[in-house]
């Protein structure tokens, strides 16, 4: 019953999406004004119905209704309820339904909450959002039905892979999806504004909170994903420029550029064409990312279940939506009047440089990710493009970008003097120079990129709090705090990355019981290796005692686990976090002489990477609260004057 109700609700939501598009398009024609009032309610209704359909699927998973094919293939009655719940989106059909649900909910939220924009532009936006939804509804209903029945229902489900029962793996997708799909609102706004030729400050102010919201989730999703890969994979790597990782990074780069561009448009009425373009590019990158990871055309260690047929459908949707938006761009943007001009040394100039460099990094990541595919298509030769390329090509550009980010908030709008800017950043530059001197002195063999990273991180951290200097902190707007904290987060993250690259120490050793190994300042003694058993696994658990200098020793217990169904081996790292870094230990197999392989890493300050990511998201949150409050203020005054 629930499955049929869910499917019916999904159909109706799809129909409402079509209606929303039709009403929106008709309302924009001359003579169609009467229909304008109908569009918002339809969008809200669509949101409600698609949410109900998704709730229905959740119900089916929580109850482990094995007569539904999707549940039978991906769930199991013995799974803990939390993982049954998360299993709803842990498969292709469920995750596509989640995609469409967030798309609908975002459209509904815009319909209900957005009051500050020209009504025609809003209608066009909702129509665009409906158009995007239609393609995905069609995909779901005709090619990936989540509610399909299985008859006869099997006695038990197949989805009890213990490796998939992990909190990080379970909740990483929704966080990223809210970001991926949330940025569709920006795309729809851009398309809507192009249709009604309404690209201006009001449009930018309206779009800004939506961009911020999606961007916060993308930041959190990528940060969480990086940490999860770091402790999961057992080798301590936090980023590999893997195609799936790149697929999540590209929308973030575009959204960051969009975020800054929208502020320029909102406050200075400049960069109209750039802003619209970035909005289109950001969601395009979301769709491209979804396509790349589901189609199977790129090999990845994070590979999802792949299906070229489904990939082809998504490619078709991609071609339609992005092609359509870019064609509209070509046609209409020429008629969008340019806004105010500004001089090269100005806040606007710095933001243009920011947009430029972010777009260049985005381009490098895109080219590098797709190059093996393109080269093979043209020449038949296989090649690999990995960290050496991305680090050497994108790294210097990123460092330049961060330097500009450090100075940017200290430059005046419209026109500023180079000399005065240099005065304002003198202290941060001095700090950077001191760090440069110290690091070269204390770490003679350091490589150039980590060195520059450390130096820049120090200077940027100082420069990012500089806007608060000499201000009354209690009267500083919340969104200024947001900017400060977000930029500080970047500096902190950079410091973590540079530190990890420069100072990580690694020791591999085949140790006997009782033997001691050294890694960095630590002494690790292998006390014992014991067989232990868990609910569905057996493992060799090593007991290690770690001590640094004269401090209290403590125990760490990494495990090498064996599961029986399916037969797989995994490694459970034991990680100890202290104020200045993480000790990361892994136990492997015994060798012929009964010695145990131990892999030990000392990673100074590596946690700063993700702590910085959290700060960036926090900065975004403060900004969005600050902006929304600021937008609302005049209304309060009207009401209470």
């Amino acid at each position: 019953m629930i499955a049929e109700a869910g499917l019916a609700t999904l159909w109706i939501a799809g129909a409402l999406s079509l209606l929303q598009l039709f009403l929106g398009a008709s309302a924009l024609r001359p003579g169609g004004e009467a229909l304008m009032r109908t569009v918002r309610p339809v969008a809200a209704a669509q949101a409600a119905l698609v949410a109900i359909a998704f709730l229905a699927l959740i119900q089916l998973f929580l109850r482990t209704d094995l007569s539904v094919a999707l549940v039978a293939a991906n769930s199991h009655s013995a799974k803990p309820w939390l993982f049954k719940f998360a299993g709803t989106w842990g498969n292709h059909e469920g995750s596509m339904l989640l995609w469409v649900t967030i798309l609908g909910l975002a459209g509904g939220a815009v319909a209900l909450l957005e009051r500050s924009i020209n009504e025609r532009t809003l209608i066009a936006t909702l129509a665009a959002q409906a158009a995007i939804g239609l393609g995905f509804y069609a995909f779901l209903l005709f090619a990936s039905n989540p509610f399909e029945r299985l008859s006869p229902a099997p006695a038990q489900g197949q989805g009890l892979n213990p490796l998939l029962q992990d909190l990080g793996l379970a909740f990483h997708p929704p966080t990223l999806y809210i970001g991926y799909v949330g940025i569709s609102v920006a795309f729809s706004f851009a398309v809507g504004a192009l249709i009604t030729r309404d690209v201006g400050p009001a449009f930018a102010r309206a779009m800004r909170p939506w961009v911020l919201g999606a961007w916060i989730f993308l930041t959190l999703g990528i940060t969480a994903g990086s940490y999860w890969a770091y402790y999961e994979l057992g080798w301590g790597g936090w980023w590999f420029w893997d195609p799936v990782e790149n697929a999540s990074l590209m929308p973030w780069l575009a959204a960051t550029a969009l975020l800054h561009s929208v502020t320029v448009l909102a406050t200075r009425d400049s960069l109209r064409a750039w802003t619209v373009m970035l909005a289109v590019v950001a969601f395009s990158m979301s769709m491209v990312g979804t396509f790349l990871v589901r189609s199977g055309i790129l090999t990845s260690v994070h590979a999802f279940a792949v299906d070229p047929q489904r990939g082809a459908f998504i490619l078709l949707l991609l071609a339609l939506y992005i092609g359509g938006a870019l064609a509209l761009f070509g046609l209409r943007v020429g008629t969008v009047k340019e806004g105010a001009t500004f001089e090269p040394v100005s806040r606007e100039g710095a933001l243009v440089a920011n947009n430029l460099l972010l777009s260049v990094i985005l381009g490098i990541v895109l080219v590098g990710t797709l190059y093996p595919l393109g080269a093979e298509a043209v020449t038949g030769e296989k090649l690999s493009v990995g960290p050496p390329y991305f680090n050497s090509a994108a790294g210097p550009v990123a460092l330049l970008l961060i330097a500009i980010m450090a100075a940017g908030p200290l430059i005046r709008w419209r026109r500023d003097q180079g000399r005065e800017v240099l005065q304002r950043i003198a202290l941060p530059v001095l700090l950077a120079a001191i760090v440069l001197f110290l690091v070269i002195l204390l770490v003679p063999g350091i490589r150039i990129l980590p060195l520059l990273g450390l130096v820049l991180a120090a200077g940027t951290a100082a420069a990012s709090v500089a806007p608060l200097w000499k201000r009354n902190l209690r009267r500083t707007p919340l969104f200024t705090w947001g900017m400060v904290i977000a930029h500080l987060g970047i500096a902190v993250s950079l410091a973590g990355m540079a530190s990890e690259a420069a100072f990580t120490k690694e020791t591999l050793i085949a140790a006997r019981i009782g033997q001691t190994a050294r890694v960095g300042p630590w002494e690790i003694r292998l006390d014992a290796v014991d067989p232990i058993a868990g609910p569905n696994w057996t493992a060799n658990e090593a007991t290690l005692t770690a001590r640094r200098g004269t401090s209290e020793p403590f125990v760490m217990t990494p495990q090498a686990r064996m599961f029986s169904s399916p037969p797989t081996e995994t490694s459970e790292a034991a990680i100890a976090t202290s104020a200045d870094g993480q000790l990361y230990t892994v136990v492997g197999k015994p060798d012929a002489e009964g010695r145990w392989q131990l892999r030990l890493w000392w990673k100074p300050f590596v946690t700063l990477i993700w702590f910085g990511g959290g700060l960036i998201a926090l900065g975004g949150l403060l900004s969005i609260i600050g902006r929304v409050r600021r937008e609302r203020k005049p209304k309060w005054d009207e009401v209470y004057a």
């Binding site: 064409a273 373009m277 590019v281 395009s284 491209v288 396509f291 189609s295 199977g296 055309i297 090999t299 070229p308 990939g311 082809a312 490619l315 991609l318 071609a319 992005i322 092609g323 870019l326 064609a327 761009f329 070509g330 943007v333 020429g334 797709l370 595919l373 393109g374 093979e376 298509a377 296989k382």
Partner: protein, 175 residues
Amino acid sequence: MRRLVLWVPLVVFLIFVATVAIGLYKPSERTIRSQMIGKQIPAFALPEAVPGKPALGSDALTSGEPRLLNVFASWCVPCIAEAPQLMELARRGVPIDAIAIRDRPEDVAKFLGRWGDPYQRIGSDRDSSVQLAMGSSGVPETFVIDGKGVIRYQHIGDIRPEHLPAILRAFEAAQ
């Protein structure tokens, strides 16, 4: 000029779609072919894999006659599947040598006893060094090597009955 520039993103996007569509419809082979095809087999001298069976060195492969070189292991499941086809090739008079990867003598002996022994010589490659030197990327693989020791053909994966004609053709061509 500005007008034209505005259409660049769309053009770039269409190129992207075309590239990716090619990737979808002509999916790339996931296997890594050896680049040593057409080149001389590297010099090596492996110890015997099974007592009683002659060991394998590269000079045995430059005997003046083409030979098949099968890279296998007793712990490799698809190698069991291709054993009948190898026996068939041996029956038809194709000389086959083998390299056993990361194998112990007792396991190789058990494997041959159970699934048949089409080989004239078997070399034991305990650390995959000859496998790496030949550009082989896994087990099982089969190479056709001509009389002068030049690698002429590589078959990746287990040999199924439908692959026999191609292998025999390559063998004939190497004469």
